[in-house]
């Protein structure tokens, strides 16, 4: 351990024998605080699940006989299809752009993140419009060949496979980003040692790169799976009935909240066990970077043939997730007859941005407090509980929204009753329901996980010794937070903020149900127009979502490039 040259920036966990850290940090005992946050986040879910006990009038046997098989098989196809596609393309592209030199690499490196700006339902609209039987693609095909209906085979985009394709095209960047960060962070030494031990360039990927990056890739894939399971917009447009659409149908079409709650609980239980499994496997194999030296990653040159193949491979997901749909959208807008006025579009954009910013601020504040308190008091139960709070991300927005309607309605009734008893019969009416508070609350529940994960990772990188040093230098906790934690977390905070902003901007069902009067967002407007069969009009707001998403995505890319260890991101200050 005599490493004189570089900072030993090892990601060391606190030793296990330091549970009782003394001192009175400004926040109350971490566990109590995180419990409150978890409770706030899962209350809407509990409200929905509270219907579990009520009678289902034999609906289950009907469901088992008729629909349940379809929900299960479709959800399974989505899970398997989306995870394998995102794994192959997300991880594959990340490895290629990190390790090899090929034409377009520098551009592709960040272009590959662009589909983050593309909502899944917008992809669904554009691909359906483009690929369905009456769409331009097949019409052209028939025109050229003279074939008719059922005289040729063409993949139906409105199918479970099509849904998996669309979701994977929109979501693979989560895996790409996670895998790329992990590949960049791995020590060159480990890779070079592996080569001296007889690994070829290719087997290096399987034997060293992939195993080292595994936790990050698993976490990224888990995000994708949660998002896929919770997706409503795309699958309902495709009429691919999954657990999520099943919950909706059961609640409303059958008018049976009990059975819907039971379906939802099955879904949530499944996701929760996935989350715990991930936690557990991470705990089983916690990698510490043993070498602390980071040198610029040397990139391998590829033969002309292979270089072209690499470019092509990286272009595939980018084309599917961004280039093609954005082009279709653009041409839809160009040819549209029925467009929204500019002032309307501006208003929608302002609303969307406002919602995004407020939600960002709230989620980041809550997330920071949660991570901070978890760090102070490492209660094992707290960690398990915190996994619960991440469930929101896997919960369909409609479920969260319905839960919030129930909870906020009850709170409002309670408040009004209390006020009418005390303040001379004054009844203010709705205080929370149908306000921006409700929408922000809904989005916060849904996207808490999006902010929590990068913040948790960021905090993990701050060595406890740095805090201790600050304390002995006379800094009180608020100053440590301001002067040490915040600046060191700047990167993580920015990443979290951008991801949350992107997600809120794309969010649909919760915003739609919970919003106040006259508060339309881009996503809501696009959806309304699309479902009333006016894709022409929907294309405009959809395109703005994509364009508005580009800015945060590009900032995110810059952030990711800077966060590489050894890249000396501090020098720019």
């Amino acid at each position: 351990m005599s490493d004189a040259v570089s900072v030993p920036q090892t990601l060391t966990e606190q030793p296990a024998d330091k549970p009782s850290r003394a001192g009175s940090f400004a926040l109350p005992a971490g566990f109590g605080f995180s419990a409150v946050i978890v409770l706030l986040v899962i209350t809407p879910l509990l409200a929905v699940l509270s219907y579990i006990g009520s009678p289902t009038d034999g609906l289950w046997s009907h469901l088992v006989e008729t629909r349940l098989g379809e929900y299960l098989s479709n959800s399974l196809i989505l899970l398997v299809g989306v995870s394998s596609l995102t794994l192959v393309f997300g991880t594959g592209c990340a490895w290629l752009v990190t390790m090899y030199q090929f034409p377009g690499r520098t551009w592709l490196e960040w272009l590959l993140v662009l589909p983050l700006a593309m909502p899944t339902y917008v992809l669904a609209y554009t691909y359906t419009d483009f690929l369905q039987f009456t769409g331009p693609m097949q019409t052209l095909l028939r025109g050229l060949t003279g074939w008719g209906w059922q005289e040729y085979w063409f993949p139906n985009i409105r199918s479970p496979g099509g849904a998996a394709f669309v979701l994977a095209a929109a979501l693979y960047p989560y895996v790409y980003v996670a895998a790329r960060a992990a590949f960049l962070a791995q020590s060159v030494c480990a890779l070079e040692v592996s080569r001296t031990l007889g690994c070829t360039q290719r087997s290096m990927f399987w034997r060293v790169g992939l195993p080292l990056a595994r936790p990050a890739i698993v976490a990224g894939t888990l995000f994708v799976l949660m998002e896929s399971l919770a997706d409503f917009g795309a699958v309902s447009y495709f009429e691919v009935n999954t657990f999520t659409t099943g919950i909706y149908r059961t609640w409303y079409a059958y008018g049976n909240p009990a059975a819907a709650a039971q379906l939802a609980s099955v879904l949530l239980l499944f996701v929760y066990s996935l989350l715990l499994l991930e936690r557990w496997s991470e705990g089983q194999r916690r990698f510490n970077q043993t070498s602390s030296r980071y040198r610029p990653m040397p990139r391998f040159a590829l033969s002309k043939h292979w270089a072209r193949a690499a470019t092509g491979f990286c272009l595939l997901p980018l084309t599917a997730g961004f280039i093609l749909p954005a082009t279709i959208l653009g041409s839809m807008v160009w040819h549209a007859q029925d467009v929204l006025s500019l002032s309307r579009l501006a208003q929608l954009t302002i609303n969307t941005t406002l919602l995004g910013l407020i939600t960002c601020a709230i989620i980041l504040t809550i997330g920071l407090i949660a991570v901070y308190s978890m760090r102070r008091d490492q209660h094992p139960l707290g960690r398990v509980l915190m996994r619960l709070a991440l469930l929101g991300y896997a919960t369909p927005g409609v479920v969260i929204a319905v839960g919030l309607l129930i909870v906020l309605g009850a709170v409002d009734r309670g408040l009004n009753y209390a006020l009418s008893q005390t303040v001379g019969g004054w009844q203010p009416g709705l205080i929370l329901s149908g306000t921006l508070v409700a929408v922000v609350y809904g989005c916060s529940v849904r996207f808490f996980a999006v902010a929590y994960s990068p913040l948790e990772a960021g905090f993990k990188k701050i060595r406890p010794n740095v805090e201790d040093a600050a304390r002995t230098l006379g800094a009180k906790p608020p100053r440590i937070f301001r002067a040490i934690h915040l600046p060191l977390l700047k990167g993580s905070l920015l990443s979290a903020a951008l991801l949350v902003f992107l997600d809120v901007m794309k969010e649909l069902p919760a915003t739609m149900i919970l919003r106040p009067f006259n508060f339309d967002t881009l996503a809501v407007e696009a959806y309304q127009l699309a479902t009333t069969e006016r894709l022409d009009g929907a294309a405009g707001p959809a395109l703005i979502i994509v364009l508005a998403g580009l800015l945060p995505v590009i900032m995110l890319c810059r952030q990711l490039a800077r966060s590489r260890p050894g890249s000396g991101h501090d020098e720019s200050e």
Partner: protein, 362 residues
């Protein structure tokens, strides 16, 4: 005179693990106390208790006579006026060298902050690197910044946690010397508590050394005390290699291959361990058979400053054992030479055999 830092009967526990028991010591102003011991002996815990980063379950901690941890209350680290120097330096990676040092000076007038920062950075020879970020410095430079940062607020006590273990050996000696001089030159009477597992470092740095094992302090004293008057075999063996053999007390003396040693207060018949430092045995020049040789050289290793000579006792001594001797400088002896060994009784220690005695030896 009140001690700069005092521990009075400190005990601390992590769950089932008894980390510290009956730990007491005092450090006078301007002095350095080294807590020395193998890893896991509790020394770092003691340091964290001094800093206020842990709250002990029992006992008092006093700084300049003021109780900072005890039954009556607990003073948080930020209010204690201690400086802490970490093994990994723990510099704030997002702040420049200058701002790292300024960090602890908040509350002072701006001019004072600037002048002190300047003073300390000049003192550690890094004033010209004030705008650099920690990752742009070498390990030794980082350690010096950390030292300047810790000392700039003029703490009553400086705490050092294995401060040199991340440096390579050349640099270590230099930085060690710098740190020692810096502490000693301070006119604020700052005392230092340093934790280390390296006996040589402790001997070099410490005005006093407290040797710890399994959560207890075994012996406290000056370097000389511990080296020349160890209280038990563990202390004796910790500070260098020893020759060890068993014997017993007869007529107030203990027999060795090199002659008898006084047994002190031990009664006749007591089984004893005799520990003789490798430099406590001298070799006498040989003229024929006078004086009579008592050992034969089996190997010689010339290590530069010293030579290590392994010997086998001759049968006529009544002992059959191998011995190791360190002599200064190169030696003219050859393997196979018969030599006469002479014992320096100041560096030979007699301990009664402990039933479950620690048999750590070379």
């Amino acid at each position: 005179m009140t001690a700069a830092l005092a521990f009075v009967d400190i005990a601390h526990r992590f769950g089932e693990l008894q980390a510290l028991q009956q730990v007491s010591f005092q450090i006078a102003a301007g002095d350095i106390l080294c807590l020395l011991g193998p890893s896991g002996c509790g020394k770092t815990t003691a340091l964290r208790i001094a800093a206020g980063l842990e709250r002990p379950h029992h006992g008092l901690v006093q700084i300049n006579g003021r109780t900072v941890s005890g039954n009556d209350g607990f003073v948080v680290p930020e209010a204690r006026g201690v400086g802490l120097l970490f093994q990994d330096y723990a510099l704030f990676p997002h702040l420049t060298v200058e701002r790292n040092v300024l960090f602890g000076l908040k509350g002072l007038p701006a001019a004072e902050q600037r002048s002190r920062t300047r003073y300390w950075l000049q003192r550690v020879g890094l004033w010209d690197r004030q705008k650099a970020y920690p990752h742009m410095l070498s390990g030794g430079e980082q350690q010096r910044v950390a030292l300047a940062r810790a000392l700039a607020p003029q703490p009553a006590v400086l705490l050092l946690d294995e401060p040199f273990s991340n440096l390579d050996s050349q640099l270590r000696y230099q930085v060690r010397e710098d740190v020692l001089r810096t502490i000693k030159d301070m006119d604020t009477g700052t005392a230092a508590l340093m934790v280390t597992h390296d006996p040589e470092e402790a001997l070099y740095m410490g005005d006093q050394i407290a040797l710890m094992d399994k959560g207890r302090i075994i012996q406290t004293g000056t370097a000389n005390d511990l080296y020349c008057q160890p209280l038990n075999p563990l202390v004796a063996t910790f500070f260098g290699s020893v020759n060890r053999f068993s014997s017993d007390v007869q007529a107030g003396h203990v027999a060795t291959p090199m002659g008898a040693l006084p047994a002190g207060h031990l009664t006749d018949g007591t089984e004893v361990d005799v520990l003789v430092r490798t430099e406590g045995i001298g070799l006498a020049a040989q003229e024929g058979n006078d004086p009579a040789p008592n050992a034969i050289i089996s190997t010689i290793r010339r290590l530069g400053q010293i030579s290590r000579i392994d010997l086998q006792t001759l049968p006529e001594t009544g002992f059959d054992c191998s011995l190791t001797v360190h002599v200064l400088g190169p030696t003219a002896y050859q393997v196979g030479d018969h030599v006469k060994l002479i014992l320096d009784s100041n560096l030979a220690f007699v301990f009664p055999v402990q039933v479950s005695g620690d048999s750590q030896s070379d």
